[in-house]
Assembly symmetry: C2
Homo-oligomer: 505 residues x 2
């Protein structure tokens, strides 16, 4: 290998290390802002974060970066250099191309519009008036459409947005998959509503002291294999997971005294994200590849843990007595089967983040269809509320009383995050497909859960998913782990089996 | 004013804002490391901090910085520009000159030596063997001597080191002052030991639950005027205060279940530092001037609050019932006077950080005399343990059993921080001198404390000290606040009065 190429590789990796370091600093400050930073320091802190983010932007789009990428991704580079270097360069190049194609002033306008829109959206949601938000959403869509024109993509223009969150994902792949999911879930839901045995959930809503909830959450995180020497659990209004580096992956949760499920399932969910980040190969530390492959793959890890482990019968066979121990007597006279049914109650609801496992994908599919319509100029922003309500009626059988619990419920669009929603449904489809592959290799899956040997399951995911970080694309990970492409039938079979039994259909 | 000068000023302030932003990011990460960051992330985090620190170093010593400083500190600049700009430029220039005069590779060697020496020192202290640490300390002294040769200074070479922590302070000023303090304290101490009424402290050491200690500390911080909307209180092994920005000034404390004094007086001490930083003028935010004027002035604020308020009779007239309320009955049968005497017990001890108010300056004077001796080549490193022990015998009347509780007790020298110790004694001298000035303006000082109106006292300090940040030099602040130069007689009078009464001499 040419002397210069060796040197360029070395310089490039050092340069990337700096970007990664700045991003860690930003992430620590962002975590701090959400876990109790004093409010009078927020303004200055936001400036500091803005300044460092601008620095990251500069480093990522500089002529120095271009020089590195041209040299490393040359024919010689691709032949001679390590996989990690090449994939890191490709990851940087994707980002470079995307950012560099947007004129700087347009990007700046977009960033300002985003933050304005978020506060307008907040107000509109509170007042349940879409018309307040509409002009901002129109501008966000208009600007996003301009960006799409600057970028390279194939097929449907919405593919350019999908690719931001789920590299390689397309409308062509998603359309048939989401249709099949929708057509599978709706009849099952109708059957449950018409013929299902009613579920009693009243015993869930008793006071459960916060400190006891916290201890329970810690015990469950330990059982999952979450490493507290490489993480910590804090309290925030909105739970999240943040990976500062693979040795420092934090989760937060929110405690509702009268509904322990919020903290417990929230913690298991964020814990699932955290297991991913804690188990990325240490070879990738210091590169941009030390992170999840995509939003969807990330969500597969959280949803697998939350629903396929945390809401399984086997898990509660193991942990029901533990729950009883920490709670203040509310489950004393509730038997395990009734408890299991209660935490798996199916009930179409208006709010996505409160949805159950069965109806959740329908919430996502509504949003997918709307976004796709917008960016194909088939749906106008002004018509969104009406179409939203129609689709909720059609898919979930319910209609929002007002836009505050309808089209205005999510912050995503206000932040200009179009193309993000599908990841949530992809997550559960990936999860079910991986669960199927896992069951083939570990037919004693339920037994492991019942014994509390979740770490063995975690190891399977580390082997197949976690360790690769961003070395592989989402569909590559899925294929290598399951032997096939995206296939929604595993999700439908899983749901059918689980809910047929729970509702005694 | 010339167009270009206006532009240069603008660019310079933006440039400085970036340095300040990086320093805030570093400070947040350092705070985080000390308040529960998971240990497996520490290595990567340290790299991130190192990388950002290197960036700050680069920015502070760049040719761009030189260009700014030359233009702004020109005759025209000094005539035309605002005080804040000029003082910021002077502050940057001081730093620039100091760093730029050291060859880069020598500085790097020093940084590596520092961190090595700290771990060697830790080992040496544990084993109580000075010989393990000696070669490292010799190297640190040797390198520091080289730095002194690179720098500009007048009079005694040790002045170059004093100036690092106490701008403008010199051996010529300190010698007579420290001599007077020493000659004042030693006879008072001997008198107490020979004729003083014995003090009972046994009731201090009862179990006092941590949560109750924490609540008490919060109440006292509120009383002091510490703004919890611009700060927070956390737990760490070693208490500290850190100012991320003037709207985010955090304190930490350490709880000893069997000695509530550790947390309470520690919190008041750090709270005093925090009052300083919270009340710096907002005009200085974003410049390098938004910080304490010096280590000594900073220490004057913490020691004033800890000793002259927190250990005063008036304070406990106000707060003794509060203390009783939070504690678990240990003070039920102890009257206020006995309590007041107990928390002001004088007892020569070997360990500086455990010393009482009266003997504390003697610990510092020992260190001052040794450092001055070393950098005047009158004392060799190898002779430090023997001279240390002699001085402890002479000044405090006690001799260490071994070097672990003698010359090896402090980390400062291992970190290459020579010239730092005098600030601690200066702090208490400044504090007493300011107290005297304050008493003239507020003869009802004790009454204010007794009424819990500490905020009025805090306002006086904000007016005279806090708001200026680094706009003024330490002795300038002292002079403007008290009408005279450094004068130790106020400390001696204060100590004499207080302890004559307590010990009924």
């Amino acid at each position: 290998m040419a002397e210069t190429l060796v040197q360029i590789e070395k310089d490039f990796l050092k340069y990337v290390e700096k970007i990664v370091a700045y991003n860690e600093a930003i992430a620590v400050m962002a975590w701090d802002l959400r876990t109790g930073a004093p409010k009078k320091g927020v303004e200055q802190r936001s400036k500091v974060i803005g300044l460092l983010s601008a620095e990251v932007f500069k480093l990522s789009t500089s002529s120095e970066m271009k020089y590195f990428l041209d040299a490393l991704l040359s024919e010689e580079g691709r032949k001679e250099l390590s996989e990690i270097t090449i994939k890191t360069a490709e990851d940087c190049k994707k980002n470079f191309d995307r950012m560099n194609k947007i004129p700087a002033e347009e990007y700046e306008e977009f960033v300002i519009l985003q933050s304005k829109s978020e506060s307008v959206w907040e107000d509109a949601k509170k007042k349940a008036e879409f018309s307040i938000f509409q002009p901002y959403l129109e501008k966000l869509v208009e600007k996003t459409n301009r960006f799409i024109k600057y970028w390279d993509w194939e097929g449907n223009p919405y593919n350019a947005l999908l690719d931001l969150y789920e590299p390689g994902m397309t409308v062509e792949v998603l359309n048939p998959v989401f249709n099949e999911v929708r057509k599978g879930i709706i009849p099952l839901l109708e059957k449950i509503e018409r013929h299902g045995k009613k579920v009693d959930t009243s015993f869930l809503f008793h006071p459960f002291p916060k400190e006891a909830q916290r201890e329970l959450c810690i015990e469950i995180l330990n059982q999952m294999g979450y490493d507290f020497e490489a993480g910590r659990l804090d309290e925030t209004v909105h739970p999240f997971e943040t990976a500062l580096n693979p040795g420092d992956v934090r989760v937060t949760t929110n405690y509702n005294i009268n509904d322990f499920r919020v903290a417990l399932f929230g913690t298991i969910h964020e814990g699932g994200h955290a297991l991913y980040e804690q188990n990325i190969s240490t070879d990738l530390v210091g590169t941009t590849l030390a992170g999840g492959a995509s939003m969807g793959i990330h969500e597969s890890q959280s949803l697998f843990n939350e629903n396929m482990i945390g809401r399984s019968r086997a898990f509660w066979k193991r942990n029901y007595s533990l729950l009883k121990q920490y709670s203040s007597g509310q489950f004393e006279h509730v038997d395990l089967e009734d408890f299991y049914r209660a935490i798996n109650e199916v009930k179409p609801s208006l709010i996505r983040i409160e949805a159950d496992e069965l109806t959740y994908p329908l919430h996502i599919i509504v949003r997918y269809e709307l976004e796709k319509g917008i960016f194909n100029e088939e749906i106008a922003v002004k018509d969104l509320p009406a179409i939203w309500n129609e689709k909720y009626k059609e898919y979930l059988g319910i209609t929002p009383d007002h836009d505050g619990v309808g089209v205005l419920q999510d912050i995503h669009w206000a932040g200009g995050s179009f193309g993000y929603f599908p990841s949530y449904a992809l997550g559960i489809i990936y999860a079910a497909q991986m669960r199927n592959a896992l069951l083939k290799e570990m037919p004693n899956f339920d037994e492991l859960i019942e014994k509390g040997e979740l770490n063995k399951i975690r190891q399977w995911f580390t082997e197949k998913v976690h360790r690769f970080g961003k070395l592989k694309k989402p569909l590559e990970i899925l294929h290598d782990a399951t032997g096939e492409g995206l296939n929604p039938k595993y999700l439908l079979t899983y749901l059918e089996e689980k809910y047929t039994e729970i509702y005694q259909l």
